[in-house]
Symmetry: C2
Subunit: 173 residues, 2 copies
């Protein structure tokens, strides 16, 4: 499938238009997965290792990810987002918002999309700044209060706590 057209949407789809690529980016962004093994085993969907290896290769050749050796462990590689990769966040945010609104999303997994949607454009740019600090080594812009990552994480944990509490309540009933 080469060079179908130079339309921006088409070119974007030729890079990220499959079922796995954006899930990998999602796990890197929202789950801070940085190693092959983490991406392979700690995701909800169960990608297979050949597909993961192939997509990581493509993402590196597209300059969306880079890979360095982990100094603490000779075999481990650390994958990092480039600026181009970080710039995918708005697409993920819109997809999350759409899915949250129109598809049968579970409460625990939907809460991040909800928080990010309600946080508006400011939360997106703050989050992208945090990702730059984490992946590109730029110095973190000091903010008061919890970071976006922390807010997303605690929203997720609250939802999980509510869920297990409810399921215990259901069992008692």
């Amino acid at each position: 499938m080469n060079e179908r057209s130079d339309c921006p949407i088409n070119l974007t789809l030729e890079v990220i238009g499959d079922k796995w690529t954006l899930l990998i980016i999602r796990d890197i962004i929202f789950g801070d997965r940085r190693h092959f093994r983490e991406l392979l085993t700690k995701s909800n969907e169960g990608i297979s290792s050949n597909i993961l290896a192939d997509r990581l290769k493509t993402l590196m050749s597209e300059d969306i990810l880079t890979r360095e050796d982990d100094p603490t462990h000779k075999q481990k590689g650390i994958y990092s987002l480039t600026e181009k990769g970080i710039a995918l966040l708005p697409i993920l945010a819109e997809m999350g918002a759409w899915g949250y609104k129109y598809l049968p999303v579970s409460e625990e997994l939907g809460v991040r999309a909800q928080v990010l949607r309600d946080g508006g454009p400011k939360m997106r740019t703050d989050f992208m700044d945090e990702l730059r600090a984490r992946h590109l080594g730029t110095k973190p812009r000091r903010t008061r209060g919890a970071s976006v990552s922390e807010r997303l994480q605690s929203a997720y944990e609250d939802a999980m706590a509510r869920k297990t509490k409810n399921s215990r309540a259901a069992k008692r009933a």
Copy 2:
């Protein structure tokens, strides 16, 4: 591929995560293609008829498109977006903006993405209102000046005119 997870991004990708679905939506939204034949022949990428038929079927079963008979022509169907389909616009807009910034987009085909990006959130909601009028029959909200469709279209035509002018100039040289 059933039920990988109930994450909003994953569920969204299960619906629109392939190389053709969003191109069809793009042609309906930005090119006002409403018939099978139009979608088949008037797009830049050349989808094949079996894939188009399959995707239209899926999009209808997902409640993103509806189909009615064209009263002027017994065989023609008219495809219309639902509210859920119109709500895909922000995803397309973000993909367009990302592709425009990071990929080798042609001037003529990129100008729509550029205009839509620079128009900000207001242009998006205005455009979605226009789409509701066109596809759902809601009454058009009266605005002064050109509609978003018209602005996008004339930006495209200007870019095309510049292009042919330049290519004539190049031939003369």
